[in-house]
Amino acid sequence: MTTSLLIVQLLNGLQFGILLFLVAAGLTLVFGVMDFINLAHGVQYMLGAYLAVTFVGLTGSFMLGLVLALAAALLLGLAFEFLVFRHLYERDHLDQVLATFGLILLLNQAVKMIWGAAPLSVPVPEFLSGNVQLLGGVLYPTYRFALIGAGLGVGALLWFVVEKTRTGMLLRAGASNAPMVSALGVDIRKLFMVVFAFGTMLAGFAGVMAAPILSVEPGMGDTVLILAFVVIVVGGIGSIRGAFVGALIVGLVDTLGRSFMNDLLRLFMAPASARATGAALSSMLIYLVMAAVLFVRPEGLLPAKGRS
């Protein structure tokens, strides 16, 4: 294992973690404020990617496609909120899990019917298509740096909105005691819609940003959803800071595990069995990390304040 490979994989892990953060932040925000468990959140990430395929293809410009895809993802999210989700806020978690599960089945199939089952891709935008030279002559794609930057930017914005603005104050208050906020004269329905729209946008944004580097295919949202769950459980449910820390841990552990587990095992195992064990172990690694974290801290690393 060379230093340059390690640097590249660290950056890959960071970039994957940032992507997971964008999905997990929306998921945990919706859950924290609305006590709503939305399995269809991963599907909104997938829709973001597919909309990017369409709009980037139509306009020929990544930035224009990005804006249009985000707008379309937002509209779709609001339509789901109106048709399905708002009828479930008062229901128990089991009902929410099931209804959003039904929505996943529908949307995965719908995507297959509209765009086909074969993987699609979005070209990397021209102005971000080069490589950046790092110390020691290591080359790293500019687009991935842009993704890391955009993710950190969105994270900072999210932190600012939640911690420093009046809306953010209401969000935090709503998260710890929604009926009280409602009694103080805040339109809780409207607040819920804002939170929901915002969460949808984040997932859609992650999908659009992932489209040029990952293959866009049906079911891509499911994988990310489950990883986002792990992130949230590790970080602490309902906490944005927790989602950030959890996402970085999961992103780094998963990426580094997949690239270096073989080498590590080969130190004390035969190459063939090291490869087999490595494959099994590295795909299970984040779940083992999750189990370890829960074993020590059942609430997660940075649980949200004010939740019981």
Binding site: V84, L94, L98, S283, L294
Partner: protein, 329 residues
Amino acid sequence: MSAVTTSSPIARPAAPAMRRLAPLVILGLLALLPLATALGLPSHWLTLVTRAMIFAIAALSLDLILGVGGLVSFGHAAFIGIGAYGAGILITEGQTELLVALPAILIVCAVFAAVTGYVSLRTRGVAFIMITLAFGQMAFYFAQALSAYGGDDGLTLYEKSTFLGREIFANRTGFYYIALGTLAVCYWLARRLVASRFGRVLRAARENAVRVTVTGYDVDHVRLGAYVISGMMAGISGFLLANQTDFVSPAFMSWQRSGELIFMVVLGGVGSLYGAIVGAIALLAVEDVLSGLTQNWKAIFGPLIVLFVLFTRGGIAGLMAKLRGSRDG
């Protein structure tokens, strides 16, 4: 998580007569189905209902922890997968004996349930849902990484399990009655368990865990026990499934499969046990009809789930109770 349970039908005093009668009627009707196929019902139904009964065993086991215990487990398909892979791997290695495979599967399921259950049960509610989901995925990825046994493509079985050297699963009607018999035994066990002191503590903990703890019971131990028993029962279902399909694949334990199991339980009525049987049969029948209509059947099935959740409560068992209620009133 208390919310899950207060709306479930079992929270109300269920009609004892129906509870005793309904499962007998269901199992009796199932016992008569092979006669109907002998009289002209397409034999395709025999295969379908066998499959439905196998899934009913898994759904029944899930209802033990979900309905009776109030714990929504979203990784239950993992146990089906362990059972199926247990049978599949042993058969591939030339060991077809049921008396070897079944104990092995039960032990592995119990260990997996004990370890993951111990970690998962440190949390409640949504965290429990997410963690069981994650552990289910862990089993899924593990199966995908088993390159010696087919990896992602799955494993085709060229033999079925045998009992003392006899090929008991070879005959389709015979297999049907084995599945029915196993289902009946599992139902009886589950019913006994729920009625026992253990079951009462489990149910009581669902309503008010603190109060039960104060009474001197270790709630976590009881829940873990239920989780282990439930996992083992689902493992049996996986064993039968592998023998029916002659094929094992990671898809057996995908999280969508776990979601379907939950839907079976909810469809039939949470906590009623026999509802899980009805739900499994109803779900597989609907899937069969829809997939016969169009390749894109999930685009119809998904909205059906959404509509079902939005417009009914308490599932089929709840509807039946409601009908009874309106008749009595």
